[in-house]
C-alpha cells in the first residue's frame, strides 16, 4: 500500500498531543532480518511515541508491522538499534520495561482456553505485578469497561471470537500501562466492541498514555490518529 492510499490522519487529541509532549517510547535505528535470503523487514526504523498521542502504522501484509510491535513490546530484541522508555530497555531492565507496556497481538492467541474470564484477568494481573491491594479492583474494572461482566464465570474456550478479543484487549489495558501496543485490535469486534475500544483508548491517552495501533488499512482505525505512518520495504514513511 502506498502512503497516498490511506486516509490522512486527523489530530484527535489536540489538547494533549502537542509536539512538546513527553516522549514515552523511543525506537531508534531498528533493524531486523528474519532467517533466510530475504531483505531486512525493518531497516533503520525510528519512531517516537509521545504522551497523550495515538499513532497509527499501516502497510501491506508482511511489511513488518508485527515485527515492529514485537520489538517495541520487548518480545523480540533488536538486532540493531535501541528500544527504550526513558532509561528502561527490554534487554537491560526487562521487568520494569514490560511493566509499562500493554500489548495486544494480532489473531486470537495468548488466552488460557480452559480458564474462566475472571480467572484469566486475575492471572494476567499477577503476571503483570499489579499490587495485591489493587488487583481485585482492576480486574472488576476491566470486566466492566470491556463489557465482560456477564461472561466473568464463563470458560474462555466457550466464548465467541469477538468476546475473546475483548478479553485480550482487557489484558492489554488492565495494568494501566503507559505504552499501549495494538496489533489489528479491531479483529472480530462488533460495533459495540469498536465503541468500547475507542472509549478505552480515549481514556488511556487522556491519562497520559500513548497508543501505537498497527493495521493494514487506515479504515481499520476506530480513532483518527495524531500521527500516521506506513511501513514499506523496511522503512517508515509519514502519512501527511
Amino acid at each position: 500500500m502506498s502512503p497516498t492510499s490511506v486516509s490522512a490522519p486527523v489530530p484527535s487529541h489536540p489538547q494533549t498531543a502537542a509536539p512538546t509532549a513527553a516522549r514515552l517510547l523511543e525506537l531508534e535505528g531498528l533493524y531486523h532480518r528474519w532467517k533466510g535470503p530475504k531483505p531486512p523487514v525493518l531497516d533503520d526504523v525510528s519512531l517516537t511515541l509521545r504522551a497523550g498521542e495515538v499513532t497509527w502504522v499501516g502497510g501491506r501484509n508482511g511489511a513488518g508491522k508485527t515485527t515492529l510491535l514485537r520489538l517495541a513490546a520487548g518480545i523480540l530484541l533488536p538486532q540493531r538499534g535501541t528500544v527504550r522508555i526513558g532509561e528502561l530497555t527490554p534487554a537491560t531492565k526487562g521487568g520494569r520495561y514490560r511493566r509499562q507496556i500493554g500489548f495486544l497481538s494480532a489473531g486470537d492467541r495468548s488466552l488460557q482456553a480452559r480458564m474462566r474470564v475472571r480467572q484469566q484477568l486475575d492471572y494476567w494481573a499477577r503476571l503483570a505485578y499489579v499490587p495485591r491491594e489493587r488487583r481485585a479492583e482492576l480486574v472488576e474494572v476491566s470486566l466492566r469497561r470491556f463489557g465482560l461482566e456477564e461472561f466473568a464465570q464463563r470458560r474462555v474456550d466457550r466464548m465467541s471470537m469477538g468476546q475473546r478479543q475483548r478479553i485480550r484487549l482487557a489484558m492489554a489495558f488492565l495494568h494501566e500501562p503507559i505504552v499501549i501496543l495494538l496489533d489489528e485490535p479491531r479483529n472480530s469486534l462488533d460495533d459495540d466492541g469498536y465503541e468500547v475500544l475507542a472509549e478505552q483508548i480515549e481514556r488511556a491517552v487522556a491519562a497520559g498514555a500513548t497508543v501505537l495501533w498497527c493495521s493494514p488499512r487506515g479504515e481499520d482505525r476506530v480513532l483518527t490518529s495524531d500521527t500516521g505512518y506506513t511501513l514499506e520495504n523496511g522503512h517508515l514513511e509519514r502519512v501527511e
Binding site: H32, W34, K35, T67, R70, A73, G74, I75, L76, L77, Q79, G94, G95, R96, R98, R99, I101, F103, S105, G107, R109, S110, L111, Q112, A113, R114, M115, Q119, D122, Y123, W124, R126, L127, A128, Y129, P131, R132, M171
Partner: protein, 269 residues
Amino acid sequence: MTQMRLWGDAMWAIVRRDAILFVSYRSQLVAQFLGPLFTITLFYYISHILTDKTIRSPGGYFGFVVIGLVIVQILTVSLGVMPVTVRQELVSGTIERFLVSAHGPVNGILGTMLFPLINAVFSGVLMLVLAALVFGLPLATTALLAIPVSLLGVIAFMPFAFFLVSLVMAFKQAASATQFIVAGIAIIGGLYFPIAVLPGWIRWTSEVQPFTPAADLLRHLLVGAPLAHPALEELIKLVGFTLVLLPAGVLLLRAAIRYGQRTGTVAEY
C-alpha cells in the same frame, strides 16, 4: 519485600493455572492413579523371577526397583512433560503473556515447571504408598527423612529440564532428546538395576550425575538398602551437583530465550 510478594503471587498464578488445566481433563486424574498401579504390579511379578545376588535391598528386587520407578516417574513427568508444556505454550501463543509481562519469560517458564514437578512428586509418593499398601513393601523407619532428600533430588534434576526447555525455546524441538536423556539416566543412574552389573568402562558415568546418589540415598532411607558410600558423602554429592547445575541451567535457559528473541525464533512455532 513487595517485589518478592509480587514474584510469589505470579508464580502461584502459574501453578494455579496449570492445576485448573489439569483437573479440567478428568481422565488425566484417573490415568495418574492407574499408571503407577499398573507399573508396580508389572515389576512386582517380574521381581518374583529375579534373585540376583547383587541386589542387597530389603524386599529383594521389588524393594530395589520401586525406588527406581519412583525416580523414573518423577523424571518422566518432569523431564518429559516440561518441554512438551513449553512447546504447547509456544504453539498456543500463551507464552506471549510471559514475554510481555513484568514477571518475564525466564520466571514464567520456571513457574511453568512447578506444577509438573509437584505432580511428579505426588505420583512418586502415590507409587510408594501403593507398593506398601497393596504389595506389602516394608518401609524403613527412616522413610520420613526421604522427603527432604527427594526434594533436594528434584531440584538437582531440574537443570536437565532447563536444558530440554532451552532446546525448545531456541530450536522448537526436544522430544527426541527427552527420550534419550530419560533412557540414558535410567541406565547409568542404576534405577532399574544396580550399577555394579554395568561394564567397567561405563560405570564412571554413575559418579558424575545426581541420579545415582539420589537413588542410593532414597533406597537407604525408604527401604533400608545398604549404601556403597557413607550417607553424608552421598548427600554432599547431591548438594554439590545441585549447586553447580542449577545456576548453570538457569543461565542456559536465559541464553536460549535471548537467542530466540534476537533471531525471532521465540515468535515461531
